[in-house]
Structures are given as C-alpha cells and as structure tokens.
Symmetry: C2
Subunit: 255 residues, 2 copies
C-alpha cells in the first residue's frame, strides 16, 4: 500500500526535484505526508473561489482547470492542469482560494491538509524552494496567457494553447503519447482563450483546412508542429524547468 502511494507521488517529487536538489530526508518527508487519494468524476469541483483553502491537492491522473466567473456570467479558464501538477498550491500557501478548480476529465487527486504543507516547508528549505518555484512557473504561465489573450488573434491564441499543452503533456505522459489528446470541449477552449464557442469552432475548422491539425471527438492530432508553433507565436521558454526542447519527440504521428 505504501509503495503504491509512493508510486503515485513520484511525478510530484520528480517535478520538485527538477526545481531544487533534494536530499534523501527531503524526499522521505514528502513521501510520508498523509496524502489521501481519491477518484473524482469529470466536472466535479476540487475547490471553489472564496473557500478558506484548508487542503492542498495534486493531480495523480486526469486533467483539470482553474476558472473565474465574471459579472455577466461569463467564465474564464485561467489555467489547465495535467497529471503531476499541483491544483491549488497557490491557494494553500496563500490561505485563500482565488479561483475555482474543476475536473475536466475523471481522474485521481492526492489531498493533504494545508497545515502539513506549512510544516514541511519550514523544516525543509530545499522543498520550500521547490514548491515556491513551482508556483513561479504557474505565474509565468499566467503572464503568458495574459499576453496570449490580450495581443493575439483567435487563430494564434488557439494554436498557442495547443502548443503549450503538447509540451506539458510530453512532460507528464510516459511514454510520450503517439498523438496528442486534448480533452477539452470547444466551449472550454473558448473559455480558456477568451473567445466564444462558435468562433472556436470556425477557427479550428480553418486550422484543419490549413493542414495544421486534425480533430476527432476531443482529440487533437498535430499535423504540422513547426507551423503550429509559428502560427501560435510559441516559445516554450516561459514553461521553464523543461528539458531543453521537447520538440524532438514526434507529436505528429498519426493514430
């Protein structure tokens, strides 16, 4: 049982180690945290904006997103999480929930009381730093999204989103997926890019006709990675802490 949970925590530790060199004690301390694992359904909420933020979650499997609601009822997805990502580290460290977190697909999350996190950080400076840096990468992605939504047209925005996904998925999926599965509905893509579902639909069609991508159900296959990067004005530098370049792995293999 213990080895099973260790196995599930591995992606998180790997990620933290990429940020800061951790010694055995650090790793052991992390693995011995009283995480509880739970299967969650698509659409279920992990947290809601305004909640007190008493826990801290990591995503073992599945995809999720963070969103905010505006006055008119509109929804803005502000980030997407893939397996190995922390869902609400910011909220936990801040003590308040500044956005809602919802599952995009069914999956499994690891949950921890926020107080444990605090104690861990105090006793393990290297882990502390790694956790900090993890939130900094998140912030860097936010800044890129501001730029993406503020200064690019629909086609570029969507292309950029797809590129970001592709790179981040390469990180967490092993072995690298032969094709690139995007579990987002067009409405979710719209909410993530500041567009409307209708316009996303038309833009995706146009991208298909240009030979950039193919789609089947909620699966996107990237046909022309280089062109997609160009269209999306995509430079993976903002994702930080990534292996030099992820482009070597063929993303364009067909199903």
């Amino acid at each position: 049982m213990s080895s099973l949970s260790t196995e599930k925590l591995k992606p998180f530790l790997d990620k933290l180690e990429a940020h800061s060199s951790l010694n055995r004690a650090d790793c052991a301390a992390f693995e011995q945290l009283p995480f509880s694992f739970e299967r969650v359904a698509a659409g279920s909420h992990i947290a809601r904006e305004g909640d007190p933020a008493a826990t801290f979650c990591g995503m073992v499997s599945g995809f999720s997103y963070r969103y905010k609601i505006v006055a008119g009822g509109g929804r803005q997805i502000v980030s997407v999480q893939v397996p190995g990502d922390f869902l609400d580290l910011q909220s936990a460290a801040l003590g308040m929930t500044v956005y809602s977190v919802q599952m995009m697909t069914p999956g499994e999350v690891a949950t921890l009381p926020a107080a444990c996190l605090e104690r861990l950080a105090d006793r393990h400076p290297d882990l502390h730093r790694a956790l900090w840096r993890e939130t900094l990468v998140d912030a860097s992605i936010f800044a890129e999204w501001v730029t993406n939504i503020g200064r690019r047209d629909a086609r570029s925005r969507i292309a950029h989103l797809l590129c970001e996904f592709a790179v981040r998925l390469q990180q967490c999926v092993s072995p690298p997926a032969p094709c690139f599965l995007l579990p987002m509905s067009q409405e979710q893509i719209a909410d993530a890019t500041g567009l409307t579902p209708v316009h996303v639909n038309r833009t995706l069609q146009s991208m298909r006709h240009s030979g950039l991508i193919r789609t089947q159900k909620r699966q996107v296959i990237i046909d022309d990675w280089n062109q997609l990067m160009r269209v999306g004005d995509f430079d993976p530098a903002y994702l930080v802490a990534l292996p030099p370049v992820g482009l070597a792995i063929p993303l364009h293999q067909s199903v």
Copy 2:
C-alpha cells in the same frame, strides 16, 4: 546613511510582515542586505526578457510595468508595479527573466544580487514564506488580468484596471492621495488591457461623460467609486493581504 536606507526599505519590510510574522532577526537580516539604491529615468529598462536574472530589485519610488512582445510587434503589459513592490522577484527566484521590466515614471530602485536573496531565504523560513506569498499575490493578479482581458468589454477592463490601481495606491501612498494619480499614457493603458490606444481614448471619453471619472493630463480622478467598481466588476479579494476594505478612504475628493 544606514538609517536612510533603512527608511527606504521600510515599505518592503512592512509588506513582508503583512504576509508572515517576522522576528527581530528576520527584519535585521533583511535590512542588512547589501542593497544599492539607484535613480532611474522614465522608460529605462530594469530587465529584459531572456536575461539571466542576476539581480533582484524593489521599487522605492515611481511606477513600472512588466511586458512581453508578441510576433506582430505588439506589446502586452502584464502587470504594473507601485512603490513598495518587488520588480522581478519571480525572475530572481526562478533564475530566468520571463518578461521585460521598464520604468513608467522616473523613480528609485533598490537592487540586490540574486544570490543574497537565496541565502536569506534558506536561513529565514519566515522571510522565505513571506517572499513566496508576495509572488503568490502577483500570480493572483495575473489570473485576474487573464479574466479581465479575456471576458470583459473595453469599458469594464479599463474600469477594473483603475480600481486595482486605486486600491494598490492606497496601500503604498501615505498619506492617502486626495486624488488618484494614474501615471499611464493611454497607449500604456491600451497595452495593459489588450485594446488599441484609439479605443482606450474613446472609452475614457465615454466614462468621463458618464461621470465616472475625470482626467487631466495623466491624472485620473475617480468621481464615482462605487459605480466604477460596478462597471469594472471589481472585487478586491484577489489582491489578498490587504486591510479589510480600502474603500473607506475617499477616493473621489476633487483636486
């Protein structure tokens, strides 16, 4: 001389103390950091995207912004800093510069080698936490900007920006300014909201005609704070760590 620099560092310490209770040793350690102070002109760059990020800066006086450039040459301002803010804490902690930082007005910055910051964090967990939280507030603001740009129309976006400013200025200006000085050109507002300068101009005019604000040169006077908050769909919660509500202080006094 030492007391002068202590004076200049006070806003930073105040801010950090709001995040995490610091003991005497923490404060002393921070004050004794080898900051160097420097006057900088409007428009001068503090950092450029892609730089190695060897230093860490705080803003003693003046205003600055962080921006990114996109393929077409467009500029997106991703955040604005007021006195007492750290300019590139994220970059320093991350070891790479993910956006450029430029002065909006003349001002004075306090600079420190990034390595000092690292040592400080390792030895002072409470300071470490405070610095972390400071970047989390930044991230929270980024997320709000994503929402603002992605899901609000021009009028709301600008109103929201003004509201954010007003609240953050109340924090750092003492005594509270009788009117609210916005040192941004319309072009800068445009780059911060994802609009064009022309459209910002027209929207500001419309807001003036509605009695929301007045402008003189680069100064904005808020005439109807409550209405402006409503128009901007503004809820200061995302700014965190603020005194309960900043609205008590009259922002609408005339010049």
